[in-house]
Amino acid sequence: MKLEQTSVFLENRKGRLWKALSILRDAEINIRALSIADTSEFGILRMIVPEPDKAREVLEENNFVVKTNDVIGVEIPDTPGGLDGILEILTKADINVEYLYAFVEKKMDQAIVVLRTEDIEGGIKALKDGGATLLSSEEVYVL
């Protein structure tokens, strides 16, 4: 019940994000979800893509530093308080969230949250026990 996330190091320079994305475009990789963590000096582009291995390969060929790691995908109702329920579960289980980003799914009345907890296994267990709907990679890729 983990999603594979692809992270890319971006120098804080004009055109770097565009460069990374155009490499993915040329490889015909469709990004399912994306967020950028920015600091004053560099950025980290985080993405969920259907073909993480291919994405990594084409980016590395173009001298980008890429890391893949596991994150958690959770489906929540696209209504006020939807995210609240998830965070409540995690807080009660004493699980710290490193970061999260969300996207809304058009066809269903659902939103998808991509979560990175310090302890991934602990996070998954807590969410499952709390009755949250976890998504597999396949489910997210076909959305």
């Binding site: 992270s7 971006l10 560099f42 980290i44 001298n63 980008f64 890429v66 890391k67 990175r116």
Partner: protein, 433 residues
């Protein structure tokens, strides 16, 4: 193997006798044939007959890079231009180039010292020497070339640049000795790795690396990646080119061919001789050169001299690896910093490619030091926290080494310029005027 056992393993007293005789002769030649020296000696009130022992060399005035440059192009020649068979120049990166002129005999001396150097690195007639030093006005290419031919090795005069071709030739010709700058050796290792060419597919056994400063840590890295003995060579165009000194396989300093080049160590500020074993600026005098004798040349290179017999059997005085230059040292907020210190700090960090650039600026009347380092997978994570810790860790390592806080910027791989000759490591944006 020792190329010239008689010269290289001579007893000190015997060496000093030869040095004195040669010193007296070269000082006389310089005084009689070069206007610059005649004037400089007279101004200092010193004459060739005042050189009675080796210590008397200290009575002679120094020659600086500027003095040589002012004599551009041929003012320092001590023979008729007709007797000069070859000229070389410095790169001229710090101003007008300095010209170095060689007679037929000077070329023979150069071949001899380079033959000693390449033999010291384990070279003999069975070797194939891939010479990636630039051929042309730069002394690196031809210096190695002459030495390689003298020992009867096969020289591959590929010169600098065209890395893909270098990699191909290295495999196809089964090169055994690589000669280039250490930063280019690192770059070649990187390219070889990227192409999946592991060291066991190569026949390389040694590298003779010079023309820029490098560190012990960089040596370890090159030796590991290419599985060779990485040896230091030292030389200056002003003195002859490469072949002033060379490291033997004991790897504890470079043997100066002191029957041809007489070394002294001075304090760069007071210009007084340093006590024996003291660290300071290397000053060199050519003892045998005809075309362009150079008396007490201030090299600006910082090192220490060590006398005594080496484990390799040679008695040539040894100089330590150059740790800095009295002129390319940086003064940051009053603190002296050598780029080599920063490199040493970087090489202590696991997974870091030693590709870096130092940028000095003075944005608010205060010097700032920025070190740009290329990111590698080992330094990267999806978490900002982690990457910031990596950055801080690098900053701490540099701080420990130089005693100054620096700002480290992580940049994308392959974004810093790769050199095929001397690496440009420092960009000084301060307006010092």
């Amino acid at each position: 193997m020792i190329w010239n056992r008689e010269a290289e393993c001579m007893a000190r007293e015997e060496m000093e006798e030869i040095q004195l005789k040669r010193l007296q002769a070269v000082v006389k030649r310089a005084y009689e044939n070069v206007n610059y020296y005649k004037k400089a000696f007279e101004e200092a009130g010193v004459y060739p007959e005042d050189i009675q022992n080796l210590k008397d060399i200290e009575k002679l005035p120094f020659t600086s890079k500027t003095d040589l440059r002012d004599a551009y192009p041929f003012g320092m020649f001590a023979v008729s231009p007709n007797d000069i068979v070859e000229v070389h120049t410095t790169s001229g990166t710090t101003g007008k180039p300095t010209v170095s002129g060689y007679t037929q005999k000077d070329i023979e001396i150069w071949s001899e010292v380079m033959a000693r150097a390449l033999t010291m690195a384990g070279g003999d007639k069975t070797d194939r020497i891939q010479n990636c030093y630039g051929y042309g006005l730069f002394t690196g290419g031809l210096g190695v070339h002459y030495g390689a031919q003298k020992i009867g090795a096969t020289v591959i005069p590929i010169s600098a640049g065209n890395t893909m071709r270098q990699v191909e030739i290295m495999q196809d010709f089964e090169s055994t000795i690589l000669t280039c700058t250490p930063s280019y050796a690192m770059y070649l290792a990187e390219v070889l790795e990227n192409q999946g060419v592991t060291w066991d597919k190569l026949k390389l056994k040694a590298g003779v690396f010079g023309a820029e400063m490098w560190t012990e840590e960089m040596r370890a890295e090159i030796e590991k990646r290419l599985n060779i003995s990485a040896l230091n060579i030292y030389g200056l165009t002003e003195i002859i080119g490469p072949g002033v000194a060379q490291e033997c396989l004991v790897k504890e300093g470079l043997h100066i061919f002191d029957d041809h080049f007489y070394p002294e160590i001075i304090n760069p500020d007071t210009r007084q001789a340093q006590p024996a074993g003291g660290k300071g600026e290397l000053v060199l005098t050519t003892l045998t050169r005809e075309g362009m004798p150079v008396i007490r040349f201030r090299t600006r290179d910082i090192t220490t001299l060590r006398y005594g017999e080496c484990g390799c059997g040679r008695t040539h005085v040894k100089m330590d690896r150059i740790t800095g230059r009295s002129d390319d040292m940086l003064k940051i907020r009053g603190v002296i910093v050598f780029p080599s210190q920063i490199e040493r700090a970087l090489l202590k960090i696991e997974g870091l490619e030693p590709q870096y650039q130092i940028i000095v600026s003075r944005p608010h009347q205060l010097d700032e030091l920025e070190v740009q380092v290329e990111t590698s997978p080992a330094l990267f994570s999806d978490e900002v926290k982690y990457v910031e810790e990596v950055k801080k860790n690098i900053e701490t390592h540099i701080h420990d080494e130089i005693g100054l806080r620096v700002n480290v910027s992580l940049v994308e791989p392959q974004s810093l310029p790769r050199s095929e000759g001397k690496a440009v490591r420092v960009i000084d944006k301060r307006d010092m005027k």
